[in-house]
Symmetry: C2
């Protein structure tokens, strides 16, 4: 992650609005996360949104958090089970009040550990998508052998067309620049093989557009599932269905190995001694692939930074989600998306897929 | 895997036809794999197809393999790079001659480590699909915390409709019965969430059909990516795009951890001692998730057992692919598919998705 203290915090009165009531352990975890964040972002100003009578005495227990937070009352909260349609009707929910603060340019972004469906629906309606973006996508950082990898979409869009995929590539590049601090992130398009003919027309056309675009130098081509953890590219672009499945399958595989390892080390006295000898390295390895370190998925493509923390995240995880939001706000991810989309737009408004495929075959 | 020595070997003169010329290290690895297989399947009869002048002296070096193999000459071989369309034209390739032997009921199935695209194309044309199967799928066994899990489709079909998914469920059940020896395998449909409303119409309708079908007791419902390695169900059904990505992402994640672990153990003298103390357990763990043990993907839904070994598999891996083929042949996987498909057929020939959704809403 970037050193966010370097660039100046943007002009909005609050760096971020924080939904104090979202998530499985709100508001405790939120406040404990802010306590950690206050050390990392001493110049940040946070708008803490939720039930004031509850938050006031709680916040007093977290002195560092209290120093950077201002409470704004919101009389209701959206439960994890609430349908997006019902959530949209609640005008005084902590999530809604926090998103409103972003819409009114009081805050550069919002972080919530609450209901993702409600969050995306509210953000789309209140903040609207960036000009030129047809579908916001869910992006997050994942571990790889070569460093951090940005993957999107992780589930905001079950099915995607060529244009969506190209937009995701643009948004993923901006994300990798802002959050990973890479000057020229390499972009891969997830497919079932690396050959040009693999996949469907939608993928092949997206690859064509990216090859012709200003991103061409950074476009690696098709990548496969194992390239995600190999770190073949810095950004992996896919539809929300495959992305969600890849994300969870990868997490599941890591969990399987961790369970098997625990069993190995707990076998007998000798293996327990073995564990003690390798513990420092194991701890570093655990940290490397720690899901808490990778907490904080961004709904990219909206007018404002919208970061979803895992509902069950602990304080460390919530603080990581705040880091992501601060990086995205401080490094103006949306400016980067806007500039790049304007460059790519011409290519995407080309004739329909089949027509242009014929045209390029003739050319 | 089942104990395949128990049931009688079926009536075809050869248990399997083996493509001796397919794969990165053919024919050496193929013969070394057969040498291992000869111990496990002493009553098997194998038709070894390839260049006779090359195979004859080589086979003499593998006495156990020689005992169960009969060579059949094929004058050409399909390279790994050859396009399926070109492969179809080669009537004397080792792959074609081997598949022909299955078509002529000389062999119960075929194993090849060669070109997958050519293999599927040839198998579809020469063997044809089973009655009622619209699309063959690629199925294989994967490790999980709870034991082996069958996943399909792993890449034979980039996009799938409701009917394809239901057929995959039927074929996956038969596979799990035959190859894993489970009396009533539980079936999950891969999705981005477990709630009934998740995913697209195609998935929701497939779930509806499976709930109404004779498989209903075994149908678990939707599963997510992490359920594959958790072993929530014995069979995981998905389209070939997501399946291929899930498979490779899972493998990639396991590889990442294995690389990180090696680094941990090689840090210094103490960690090397630590490694020695836990080595027996690590070896068992490595074996548990060893891709060689899971080598051998079956193209299910064809008139004959068609097993693809990984092109780079070693002898142990190739022998595992032979095990899968022997299990599938011996336990009559295709009979199981035929019987079950006949039961499910009525549900699938129901009116189009939207119409039947309305009908059931009225009912």
């Amino acid at each position: 992650m970037n050193d966010v203290s370097a660039p100046a915090i943007p002009a909005a009165p609050f760096s971020l609005a924080i939904d104090a009531m979202g998530g499985d352990h709100a508001p405790d975890i939120v406040l404990a996360g802010l306590e950690l964040a206050a050390d990392r972002h001493p110049n940040a100003r946070m708008l803490l949104v939720g039930d004031e009578s509850l938050l006031k005495p709680q916040l007093a227990k977290y002195p560092k958090a209290a120093r950077i937070c201002e409470i704004r009352h919101a009389s209701s909260a959206i439960s994890m089970e609430m349908k997006p349609t019902s959530a949209l009707r609640l005008r005084d929910s902590s999530l809604r009040v926090a998103i409103d603060a972003v819409a009114h340019e009081e805050a550069g972004g919002i972080v919530s550990a609450g209901n993702s469906g409600a969050m995306l629906a509210l953000a789309k309606i209140v903040l609207k998508t960036l000009p030129g973006v047809t579908r916001p996508a869910m992006a997050a950082v994942n571990p790889s052998a070569r460093g951090d990898v940005v993957m999107l979409d992780l589930g905001a869009n079950i099915s995607c067309d060529t244009r969506n995929l190209v937009e995701f590539a643009v948004m993923g590049e901006a994300f990798a620049k802002a959050v990973l601090g890479l000057p020229a992130p390499r972009i891969g398009l997830l497919n079932v093989g690396v050959e040009e003919l693999k996949g469907d027309e939608r993928l092949r056309r997206a690859a064509e557009i990216l090859r012709e675009s200003p991103l061409s130098d950074q476009f690696y081509g098709f990548v496969e599932g194992h390239d995600i953890t190999a770190g073949t590219t810095d950004v992996v672009v896919t539809d929300g269905f495959s992305g969600n499945i890849a994300l969870k399958t990868g997490e599941g595989a890591l969990k399987l190995v961790s369970q098997l390892l625990q069993r190995v080390f707990k076998t007998n006295l000798l293996t327990r001694i073995g564990y003690l000898l390798v513990r420092p390295g194991l701890e570093r390895m655990k940290e490397w692939i720690d899901p808490r370190r990778y907490n904080g998925a961004v709904f990219v493509g909206l007018n404002g930074i919208v970061v979803k923390s895992h509902g069950g995240a602990d304080a460390e995880g919530f603080a990581a989600a705040i880091d992501v939001a601060m990086d995205a706000v401080t490094h103006s991810i949306n400016e980067k998306i806007r500039t790049r989309l304007a460059q790519v737009e011409r290519l995407m408004s080309a004739p329909s897929e089949n027509e242009s495929a014929e045209a390029s075959a003739v050319a």
